[in-house]
Amino acid sequence: MRLVDRHGRRREHPSFTAPDHAVLAELHRAMVIGRRFNQQASTLARQGRLAVYPSSMGQEAAQVGGVLALSEQDWLFPSYRDSVAMVTHGVDPVKTLTLFRGDWHSGYNPHHYRCAPQCTPLATNASHAVGLTYAARRKGRDVAALVLMGDGATSEGDAHEAYNFAAVWNTPVVFLVQNNHWAISVPVHRQSIAPTLAHKAVGYGMRGYNVDGNDAAAVHSVVSHALAEARAGGGPAIVEALTYRIDPHTNSDAPQRYRDSAEVEYWAERDPLARLETLLRNEQIVDDGLLGIYERDAERVATAVRDRMAVEDKLDPDSLFTDVYAAIPPALEQQRRELAEELRQV
């Protein structure tokens, strides 16, 4: 499924229409910010200011397209690769990086942003989304969820179980699989020999969609449709967004060991930002002025991140103890006192 080809030309589709101009512009704006954020975070990682950063360079359309399809009250369940999605969803960019900075496991209150903590154990948060939307329905709230997962993650048993629970319970969850062709060094054809990953939906009695993941309009359109169906009781769906991870897996990866630079070039030519920009310009939806504003917005986000990251947060070792349980149990309280004592002696 594609609505905008790689040259920025519209494509007709029998069942999907592109979002309206305002949304197209918003998609582009979010991608511009996301791209800049990816660059900034990668730089911070290179500088050692982040312990690690898994860049989603090249995948901005998939993330932005998916997230902007969510309604106000919906939840996002991101993985480690989905900073751009989170920033688009409204999470404070600096808090998005808390995990990677090594300050804490998660930098924000999930309820505040309707965004679960970034998930590292692959596919394990998919069932959380099923449970959360189930609970919301029980409480009479119209909450859907978008789960972001990679091509590699679909091989895990947890993906299977979550898909099935969602289908059987008919919870409003869309599983957006960003097939970026690689799971670290393992190509997707070693994960699955199914025609597409979207075909997995069949085995759960779900709908499955395959979409050009570098076409933000198409991703938005398909995910919006899937969410609407899901909240109307039509069941969950798997949306496979075909895209590509342009950067290394993380800053400490060595992609030359496992993939050809030609492949990267091939995909760079299919850049999600370029094509939407072409369309927006051609159709005079945006002009240089507006694009300049997007760039400045992006730069502002990057600068704020850079500035705020320049300040080392003071981390209190005592925070190791305070939230393990609802109340600190006596034996742990003793370890807390001992550590405080140790630190006094230093």
């Binding site: 999930p110 903590p117 154990p121 069932s127 959380h128 449970g131 305070t322 393990v324 349980y325 149990p329």
Partner: protein, 362 residues
């Protein structure tokens, strides 16, 4: 030789009734004999009735009422919404419970037998135990995982594991196990009301143990260990299925003139040092008993920390009595694996009552 369990053993499940809908009714008319299964069943009924956020699900917990009937009558009384059967996938069950708890429900899920909780291990260790801490307290997870555990019912392979050591070594979890019907009721209510995730280990061979008690009942808070039987010569530390066995052993020892104090740990993690250490300081001797294999078992923690805390009060090393360091045996051999009264008495006999042999010390 052939072991006769309290009910037909459950090879691949569906054992006989451990509770029965009658329990609630019976208990309503004053101190009745209540089985542990019935007490648990009543606790679930009362919790579901009182709090609309509590729901019960898992494998066969609905119309069947669970293979041990602990969830008997919940679906018919409260409807599908409050107690239902899910797809057969333990990781999915715990994962969805986590998601539900994130949104304010208090799910109580059942793992049908101990070994069938292992598929959910990653969800338990990497999420359930860590979510509150990960989110600096913003996302507590009030989830109860009920696990019928331990042996002694003639179950075939995978139906008799004692998995407490896996959970107690995982910070962020509360691990509790009742030893009496009254505690079963009270602790399960407390577990469901608790804002921490609780692994609730049900000693399945004791589902049929009876006690005369008025339900509802509130016993000591679950995080407190209790002295089940006072004594002055030696402290016998037990929990779950071994509480009854320990009390029997104490009776028998009394007949032989030895005054045994029995401590029931109840909450295995986090640990209540005060109660048991006070006892050991008083008696100077201790034996800890559990069904699980001794090596790396929970008893090691009890022995190690008691020794740290009471070293100069100890007349002898804290001894451990437990299962052999072998995979859980088939039904006809489990009696040799499980610690019984004799093994406990033998261990107590080894506690160097004649202290002639003290070379090398002081």
């Amino acid at each position: 030789m052939a072991h006769t369990p309290p009910t037909p053993p459950t090879g691949t499940e569906t054992a006989a009734t451990a509770s029965g809908a009658a329990a609630s009714a019976a208990a309503a008319q004053g101190a009745a004999e209540v089985t542990m299964g019935a007490a648990l069943n009543r606790a679930l009924h009362d919790a579901v009735a009182e709090d609309p956020d509590v729901l019960v699900y898992g494998e066969d917990v609905g119309p069947l009422g669970g293979v041990f009937r602990v969830t008997d009558g919940l679906t018919s009384t409260f409807g599908e919404e409050r107690c239902f059967d899910s797809p057969l996938a333990e990781s999915g069950i715990v994962g969805t419970a986590i998601g539900m708890a994130m949104y304010g429900l208090r799910p109580v899920v059942e793992m049908q037998f101990d070994a069938f909780a292992y598929p959910a291990f990653e969800q338990v260790v990497s999420h359930l135990a860590k979510m509150r801490n990960r989110t600096r307290g913003a996302v507590p997870l009030p989830v109860v995982i009920r696990v019928p555990y331990g042996g002694g019912i003639g179950g075939v392979e995978h139906h008799s594991d004692s998995s407490e050591a896996y959970y107690t070594h995982t910070p962020g979890l509360r691990v509790v196990t009742p030893g009496t019907p009254a505690d079963a009721y009270s602790m399960l209510r407390e577990a469901i009301a608790c804002d921490d995730p609780v692994v609730f280990l049900e000693p399945k061979r004791r589902y049929w143990s009876r006690q005369s008690v008025d339900l509802p009942v509130r016993t000591e808070p679950m995080e407190r260990s209790v002295v089940r039987r006072p004594g002055s010569d030696v402290t016998l530390i037990a929990y779950g299925p071994m509480v009854e066995t320990a009390l029997e052993a104490a009776e028998q020892a009394a007949a032989e003139g030895r005054d045994v104090e029995v401590v029931d740990l109840r909450q295995l993690a986090p640990f209540d040092d005060a109660t048991v250490a006070a006892s050991v300081r008083r008696t100077g001797r201790a034996v800890v008993v559990h069904e699980a294999s001794v090596f790396g078992g929970y008893g090691a923690e009890v022995a190690a920390r008691l020794t740290e805390q009471c070293f100069h009060y100890l007349e002898a090393p804290v001894l451990r009595v437990g299962g052999l360091d072998v995979p859980y045996p088939p039904p006809k051999l489990e009696e040799h694996h499980l610690p019984g009264v004799d093994r406990i008495l033998a261990a107590m006999d080894r506690l160097q009552w004649e202290s002639e042999w003290v070379e090398g010390h002081g």
